[in-house]
Structure formats: C-alpha cells, structure tokens
Amino acid sequence: MVAHNYVFVGLLLLVAVGFALAPLALVALVAPRKRSPTKADVFECGVRTHGETWVRFRIQYYIYAIMFVVFDVETVFLYPWAAAYGSLGTFALVEMTVFLALLFAGLAYAWAKGVLRWA
C-alpha cells in the first residue's frame, strides 16, 4: 500500500524528536543549574527590558504572508498539472497559462499599489 510509506515518516518523526530530546535530557542530568534573577532576565543588550515585548508589527509582514499563502495554494494546482502534463494536450497548457496570468495579475496589482516595497 502507498500509505504505508508514511509509517516510516511517523517513525522518523519519533526518531527526530527523540534525537532532539535525548541530549536535552542529558543536559538536565549533567549541566550545572544555578538560577539567579539577573541570569533569567531577557537579554536585551544588558539594558533593562523596556515596555511590552509582544509589540505590534507593521502591516508589511502580513502582505508578504498573504502573497505567500496565495502562491502556495497555487503550487498545489501547479504540481498535479506538471505531473500530468505529458499525457495531456495543448489545452492543458492554455488552461495553465490562463491560471498563471490570473495570479500574475494579482502580483502585478500588489506591485502597482506599492505594497511590495519594504518601507
């Protein structure tokens, strides 16, 4: 069965997590632990933390995230198309050209509106 491939992925995930946690467990046994208030402070260049840490970020980040999501979903359509292209005719190419043109129009819109500029 094809799905059985993913049994290996599950096992590998366990190995990876184990590989990450084992040295941490060793650290808990071996490493010194001397707590002090100053040491447990947040390190902001030796200056006392000023204001709220979880500050609000600029909108720019979100615009890039939106474009990422849209193009990421696009790849979900592109991959099957590319895999099937050999057994399909010119119609598939035309369809994909239309699809890509649509998405490119979206990118061009964002570009024209100047939101791709990191200000």
């Binding site: 979100y62 939106i66 999501v69 849209v70 990421d72 979903v73 979900v76």
Partner: protein, 109 residues
C-alpha cells in the same frame, strides 16, 4: 480488509470536530480565534469528503476522485478565506483599535 476502521468512526470524529468548531465560533470574542474555529469546521468537512470518497461506491460517471478534488477546492477556499478574513480584522483593528467581534457594533446604532 478484515480489521478496517468503520466509516462511522471518521464521521463521528468529523462531527465532533465540527461541533467543537461551532462552539468556538460562538464562544470566542477575538476575531482571529473565530477564524481559527472556522478552520476547524472546514477541516472536519474535508475529513468527511475524503472518508466518503474512500468508503463509498461511486455513482456512474463520477470520476475517480470527486471527494479529493472537492477537498482540494475546500482547502483553496479556506486559504483565501483566512487571507481576506485577517485583512478585514486588520482593517477593523485600525478603525476601532479592537479585535473583539462584540465591539464591531457600529451598525447596531
């Protein structure tokens, strides 16, 4: 298969997840939390679609994978929904300085 999972189990899982998502939509006041609850509901629907695809016998001429295709389209719509949804939340946040859906009440006069 002898020891296969009954179809019902998938359906119950998705019904429970859907109900949890609905509860979340009703309970949460933060608009982004509401969006997350909606994502849970959409995912629950997807599990149903794929489960019926795999367990059912298809109607004549339904194609090899109607359920999977529909699930892919749901994923697309969900992604678009989140993008626009958060865009709206940001706009409202700028206007009212709040992400609390109870406070978007300008229309209620």
């Amino acid at each position: 298969m002898a020891n296969d999972i009954p179809l019902n189990w998938f359906l119950y899982f998705s019904a429970a997840a859907f109900a949890i998502g609905l509860t979340g939509v009703l309970l949460r006041r933060n608009a982004i939390a509401v969006l997350m609850a909606i994502e849970i509901m959409l995912n629950a629907a997807n599990v149903n679609l794929v489960a019926f695809w795999r367990y059912g016998t298809p109607a004549a001429g339904a194609g090899p994978m109607p359920g999977v295709i529909l699930a892919l389209l749901v994923v697309t719509v969900a992604a678009a929904e989140v993008a626009v949804g958060i865009g709206l939340v940001l706009l409202c946040y700028r206007r009212w300085r709040a992400v609390d859906v109870d406070r978007y009440d300008t229309l209620s006069g």
